[in-house]
Amino acid sequence: MAELVAVIASTHHPFYYRASTSTGDDRPPFADEWVRKVEAFRETLTRARPDVLVMVGSDHFHQLWLDNMPQFLVGKAPFYDANFSNEEREFGLPRMFFTGQEDLSAYILREGLDAGFDLAFSNELRIDHSITCPIITLRPQNDLPIVPIYTNIFAPPLPRPKRFVQLGRTIRQLIESWPSDQRVAVIGTGHLSLELGGPRQFGPHGPDPEFDRRAVEWISSGDLEGCLAEVTLDSLHAPGNATHGFMDFMLMMGVAGEGQKADYVDTYDLFHTMEAYFTWYPNGGGRP
């Protein structure tokens, strides 16, 4: 059976690429430290020596639209183009190209349907910065096949937090039962407190530092029970109007498992958001 060698949860900050590649007067003062933190985080994936990456993210109204909106969608394609013109325009992100791992996509779809998740699928999916950002930060050589999984954290009605956790648990079970000798890492990205297009956007910190502190505690200690007791679709409006992206972190806590402390935790307090980076090694293999 396949081996789950790393579980990684991260924020996806679309400005990292520009900040980390800019020079001279264009380079923001926070860039060097940010790069240092990201490169240390990257090492946690490298150490796990994955063969395949399952990438959990969320389309930002790029390909998926309100006339046909899936709640959970699995890409099943031999290749994926990536990034869109408005991401190039606003964030300076490059166009990218990925190879797909179709066997694992097919397995997750078939077994996921049988496990009670009515997963949508796409045979022609262009992926956006929720998945390309963690490739840029964690695997810039972009040399591994991927399985993209999209969640709806964006267009209500949304699935409830518990459902994200359940899907995370199921993804883990499916990877660990996949008849293959591949080493699989799951990388999921979301947000802590975040405001976009509202009065609290682009402040000197994330919109709700206290929520961020508690969120980091829930994730790093694997406190799913405590997190689920407090986080609801309604409660997530309070820390910032885009904070429902935190549910992708909850999905990743589901992959990692109840009570599982993260092996690696780091944060970086930036304007607009708190960056947060977590890695678990389910079988201890990647620990230094």
């Binding site: 109204f61 606003e90 509202g198 009065p199 956007q201 682009f202």
Partner: protein, 120 residues
């Protein structure tokens, strides 16, 4: 009232660079054209197929025609769509980094929680 149609306008204009410029320069004419020619297109269908019933109400049409993004927020347009398109149109007019984004926040500062519902 159609939050969906407001979102559809923002979505379709944002992803077409030529339309972004046209909406920046001639907002009222662009909204009029879009409502007549584009509003009923079903984006995932063959171009020969379309809907028949989608139209703005007067408040929505005026908010779009006047680039009134605080009003769009109040009407429940999706904040991400509004922000992305308006950054594309107006960030260039501000010398300071994030100048437009911070002005945008200030112009919405009178809103307390709960914000207008964005469910469509």
């Amino acid at each position: 009232m159609s939050k969906y149609l407001l979102n559809k306008f923002l979505f379709t204009v944002d992803r077409d660079p030529e339309l972004v410029e046209r909406y920046r320069e001639e907002p009222r004419a662009t909204v009029t054209w879009w409502e007549a020619e584009y509003a009923n297109r079903i984006l995932g269908c063959h171009t020969g197929e379309s809907s028949t019933w989608l139209r703005f109400d007067d408040t929505e049409r005026e908010a779009l025609a006047t680039h009134d993004y605080p009003k769009l927020f109040e009407l429940g347009a999706h904040p991400f769509l509004t922000l992305t398109l308006f950054i594309a149109m107006f960030e260039r007019d501000h010398a300071e980094p994030l100048g437009f984004q911070l002005e945008y926040a200030r112009r919405l500062a009178h809103h307390d929680l709960p914000y207008p519902d964005i469910a469509t």
